[in-house]
C-alpha cells in the first residue's frame, strides 16, 4: 500500500539553526500538508500546498517557515531559525484530490524535532 514517508525520523538542533524536514507524499497525490504536534497536545495545521503554491497557512506558519516542492516527489518544510518552542513532531500529509469532495488524508510517520 502506498504511504507517505518522512526523513529524518528524529532531528536535534541548536536554537537559531536552520532545519529542513523532508516528505515524500504518495505519488499521485496533489494536495500536501504540514501539521505539527507538540508533545501531549493536539495535532495542529501549519500549511497546505497545491499546484506549487501555498493555498492556506495558519498563524503558526510565520516568516520563519517555508515550504517547497523542489522536484516531482519531495515536499519540504524549512524552519530558518529554530526556537525552543518549535520542538514538536512534524507530520506531512497528502490527499489525491479530484476524485471526491472528501478524501482521506494520509499522514507520514513524522519527524520529531528537538531544539536545544
Amino acid at each position: 500500500e502506498p504511504e507517505v514517508t518522512q526523513t529524518p525520523s528524529h532531528q536535534v538542533t541548536q536554537m537559531g539553526q536552520e532545519v529542513i524536514l523532508r516528505c515524500v507524499p504518495i505519488s499521485n497525490h496533489l494536495y500536501f500538508y504540514w501539521y505539527r504536534q507538540i508533545l501531549g497536545q493536539k495535532v495542529e495545521f501549519l500549511v497546505s500546498f497545491y499546484n506549487n503554491e501555498i493555498s492556506e497557512k495558519s498563524e503558526i506558519f510565520d516568516d520563519q517557515f517555508s515550504v517547497e516542492r523542489p522536484d516531482g516527489s519531495n515536499f519540504t518544510l524549512k524552519i530558518r531559525s529554530t526556537k525552543l518552542e518549535d520542538s514538536a513532531m512534524y507530520f506531512c500529509a497528502s490527499i489525491r484530490a479530484g476524485q471526491a469532495p472528501w478524501e482521506t488524508q494520509y499522514f507520514g510517520p513524522g519527524t520529531r524535532l528537538l531544539v536545544l
Binding site: V43, E56, F91, W102, F107
Partner: protein, 113 residues
C-alpha cells in the same frame, strides 16, 4: 470558532466493553468529520469518517454518531480489544478550508483485560 472540543482526555475500558469518545464543534461550515487513530511513534491514521447528511456510520466495531443540531459527534468502539489501545483524535474539515483538518485534543484509550 475553529475549535473542536474532545472528551474525555483519557479513558480506561475493560476488554469487551464499549468505548465512547465525544466531540463538539462550533463552526457550522464544517462538513466532514473523520476520526483518526494514533499509536505511539506513528502518524495519525484514518479510522472512520462521516458527512453531516447522515446521523450514523458503522464500520465493523466502530460507529460514528452525528447530531447536526447539537453540533456533536461521537465514536463508539464496540467489543473493545487491547489492540484498540491508542490515542484517538476527532477532526473536522470544511469545503472552504482547503480540506485542512482541525483536530480535537485527543483521547488516550486504554483497554484492560
Amino acid at each position: 470558532q475553529q475549535q473542536v472540543k474532545q472528551s474525555p482526555q483519557s479513558l480506561i475500558v475493560q476488554k469487551g466493553g464499549i468505548s465512547i469518545i465525544n466531540c463538539a464543534y462550533e463552526n457550522t461550515a464544517f462538513d466532514y468529520f473523520p476520526w483518526y487513530q494514533q499509536f505511539p511513534g506513528k502518524g495519525p491514521a484514518l479510522l472512520i469518517a462521516i458527512r453531516p447528511d447522515v446521523s450514523e456510520k458503522k464500520e465493523g466495531r466502530f460507529t460514528i454518531s452525528f447530531n447536526k443540531s447539537a453540533k456533536q459527534f461521537s465514536l463508539h468502539i464496540m467489543d473493545s480489544q487491547p489492540g484498540d489501545s491508542a490515542t484517538y483524535f476527532c477532526a473536522a474539515a470544511s469545503n472552504f478550508g482547503n480540506e485542512k483538518l482541525t483536530f480535537g485534543t485527543g483521547t488516550r484509550l486504554t483497554i484492560i483485560p
